[in-house]
């Protein structure tokens, strides 16, 4: 009995690589490999236990409960017809688009005309939330452009010599380290939580991001034209403008189009914290539990972000030559826009 248990113990020790199986070099290597495997298994087991403990802690902290998920699910199902109100067209069940539309008109999310006399020119266009968002992005991009150009060019080692160009690089890095969402919070004393402050935040954001894209583009220019312009006896600013900037002019325009697209998405997310436009409207409807109206806002957002992206990508592919920019399909542009809005809000770009 005891001999049997001891031999079982021996076999276990052999299996774990704690006992020698033989004296030849092959046997010794076999023992060595078994020991390594044992060590690996030990760490794997430890890792699994650690993840399990952390997961348990996290679930307790957020109050995660399967029971609640199951008991609440009918309420979610109840909300669905509110998100997507059904109706029938010619007896066929379909989405009641008119509910969205009447809300959009009622709240003037697009635009409306005031004053009755067309011919007298006595007409006022009242721009809705969609255009407020667009205006924030456009004004931010245009006003951020001079800063981006200045910092982008000055950060290039070919324009400003090595240690000093890092001053401009570091400034842009600092700007990019803070997402536009946070810039709005920082700038609240200047203009409250308003479209104005959102525009200021986008101006700063554009300086940091667009400037960086400009610098990257300038790194890749050819030396030849620079030398060519220099050989004519041109002065330094002329060499920079004609030898360097003229090489990247089209690329710069393409990046500006890309940045406008990005800024529209940022402007939407800035609205969510109250800085005006479609995002603000969405937030209001969410807080008042008007789910149909909230979904109308979301649909408008997807349409706006998708259209701007399509437009910008067509401009870019035209400027860059056909092959360099991958074109997004029409459907893809709209389907991916929610994810891209979130990425833009977090300061990531693609």
């Amino acid at each position: 009995m005891s001999s049997e248990s001891s031999s079982r113990g021996d076999r276990l020790r052999e299996y774990l690589g704690l006992a020698d199986v033989g004296e030849t070099s092959v046997d010794r290597k076999l023992t060595d490999l078994k020991r390594r495997k044992t060590v690996r298994r030990f760490w794997t087991a430890l890792g699994i236990v650690a993840v399990a403990l952390l997961l348990n802690f996290s679930l307790r902290t957020v109050g995660f409960s399967l029971v609640e998920l199951i008991t609440q699910f009918p309420f979610f199902l109840d909300a669905l017809p509110e998100y997507f109100p059904p109706t029938t067209y010619y007896g066929l069940p379909f989405l009641d688009v008119m509910q969205y539309w009447s809300f959009i008109i009622e709240q003037n999310l697009l635009l409306s005309l005031e004053g009755g006399r067309w011919l007298a020119g006595d007409i006022n266009i009242v721009w809705g939330a969609t255009f407020v968002t667009l205006a924030i992005a456009f004004a931010g991009t245009v006003l951020g452009l001079p800063g981006a150009l200045l910092f982008g060019v000055m950060a290039s080692e070919r324009v400003v010599p090595y240690p000093f160009n890092f001053l401009f690089r570091a400034t842009m890095s600092l700007i990019r380290a803070i997402p536009a969402l946070v810039w709005v919070l920082i700038l609240i004393p200047l203009g409250g939580v308003s479209p104005f402050t959102a525009t200021l935040a986008i101006i700063i954001d554009t300086t940091g991001y667009l400037g960086r894209l400009f610098t990257d583009e300038l790194e890749e220019i050819a030396d030849g034209p620079i030398e060519g312009i220099r050989s004519t006896g041109a002065n330094k600013p002329q060499v920079v403008s004609f030898g360097m900037l003229s090489q990247v002019f089209r690329q710069f325009i393409a990046w500006i189009a890309f940045d406008l697209e990005h800024n529209v998405r940022v402007a939407i997310s800035l609205g969510l914290i109250g800085a005006g436009g479609l995002g603000l409207e969405l937030d209001i409807q969410r807080k008042t539990f008007n789910y149909t109206e909230m979904m109308a806002c979301i649909i408008l957002i997807v349409l706006l972000a998708g259209s701007v992206e399509l437009l910008s990508q067509r401009v870019r592919s035209y400027l860059r030559g056909e092959d360099e920019v991958e074109k997004t399909g029409v459907l893809e542009a709209f389907f991916t826009s929610p994810r891209k809005i979130i990425e833009s809000a977090a300061g990531r770009r693609r």
Partner: protein
């Protein structure tokens, strides 16, 4: 009417001596600079142009020392070095940058005289009708002619060309050299052109300067360039096709010349 004087020019890059005590003087001539790759042709041209400084020695134009790039010296590059995204006309116009302020040049408020000069230069190189075309859409030969036009707009007294036809097919090469020679003649400028193609050199050159390992090997007038000199310059290379033009100057017929090389 101008005189380029190169006096005892030496240029070293670290331990490497690119040019060693090179001296010559040229006056209103079309001079061809010959030599292997690495013989110092480009370095010499860059020293004269002011794109690099000689280690010792002086380069003067009409008695004035040449330091830094200046409009009186026009430069034509092997890779054209044009601004590819804009028109031939604007590229030619960049030749007048030195006379124009930054603001004026950015908004293209050049003098009417400069604008005319740019178009006249393009006419000289046979590209007046193509003046509006983007350089990137032009052929290599046309691009190089725009390069010549840019140099002419500088209103130079000396034109340097660094292997201007090395990247071109034989037909375009002959075209470009023809226009370069014409431009030099019409505008009465001294030209110093480095070339690899011995045939083209012999056809267009009025005087030949040979560089080997950074040293001046020969400095001869038209008609004095013999196959023996070429052999000495390039070593025994069979395909250097000098025979056609120079056989009449040589004692041996070209076929025998080849055989001697093989032996």
């Amino acid at each position: 009417m101008s005189t380029l004087t190169v006096e005892n020019v030496t240029k070293t890059y670290g331990d490497v001596t690119a040019l060693e005590d090179v001296s010559f003087e040229i006056e209103d001539e079309f001079v061809v600079l010959l030599g292997e790759s690495g013989a110092g042709k480009s370095t010499l041209l860059r020293c004269i142009n002011g794109l690099t400084e000689p280690t010792t020695g002086t380069v003067t134009l009409d008695g004035e020392p040449l330091a830094g790039s200046r409009p009186s010296v026009g430069m034509i590059f092997q890779q054209h070095n044009l601004v590819e995204g804009v028109s031939a006309y604007l590229n030619a116009l960049t030749g007048s940058l030195e006379r124009t302020s930054l603001l004026e040049s950015i908004f293209q408020w050049h003098d009417r005289a400069d604008k005319r000069r740019a178009l006249e230069a393009l006419e000289t190189v046979g590209l007046l009708d193509e003046a509006h075309q983007r350089v990137s859409q032009m052929s290599g030969g046309q691009q190089q002619r725009v390069g010549i036009a840019r140099a002419l707009v500088q209103d130079p007294s000396l034109v340097l060309a660094d292997e201007p036809v090395a990247s071109l097919d034989p037909g375009s090469a002959e075209d470009v050299m023809g226009y370069l020679k014409k431009a030099a003649t019409v505008h009465e400028v001294t030209a110093l052109v480095s070339l690899h193609q011995v045939n083209i050199a012999a056809h267009f050159g009025e005087r030949f300067i040979g560089l080997r390992d950074g040293q001046l090997l020969f400095d001869v007038q038209q008609g004095e360039l013999t196959p023996a000199l070429i052999d000495e310059l390039y070593g025994d290379v069979e395909t250097v096709g000098l025979a056609e033009y120079l056989a009449r100057d040589s004692d041996e017929p070209p076929t025998q010349q080849r055989r001697r090389v093989e032996a």
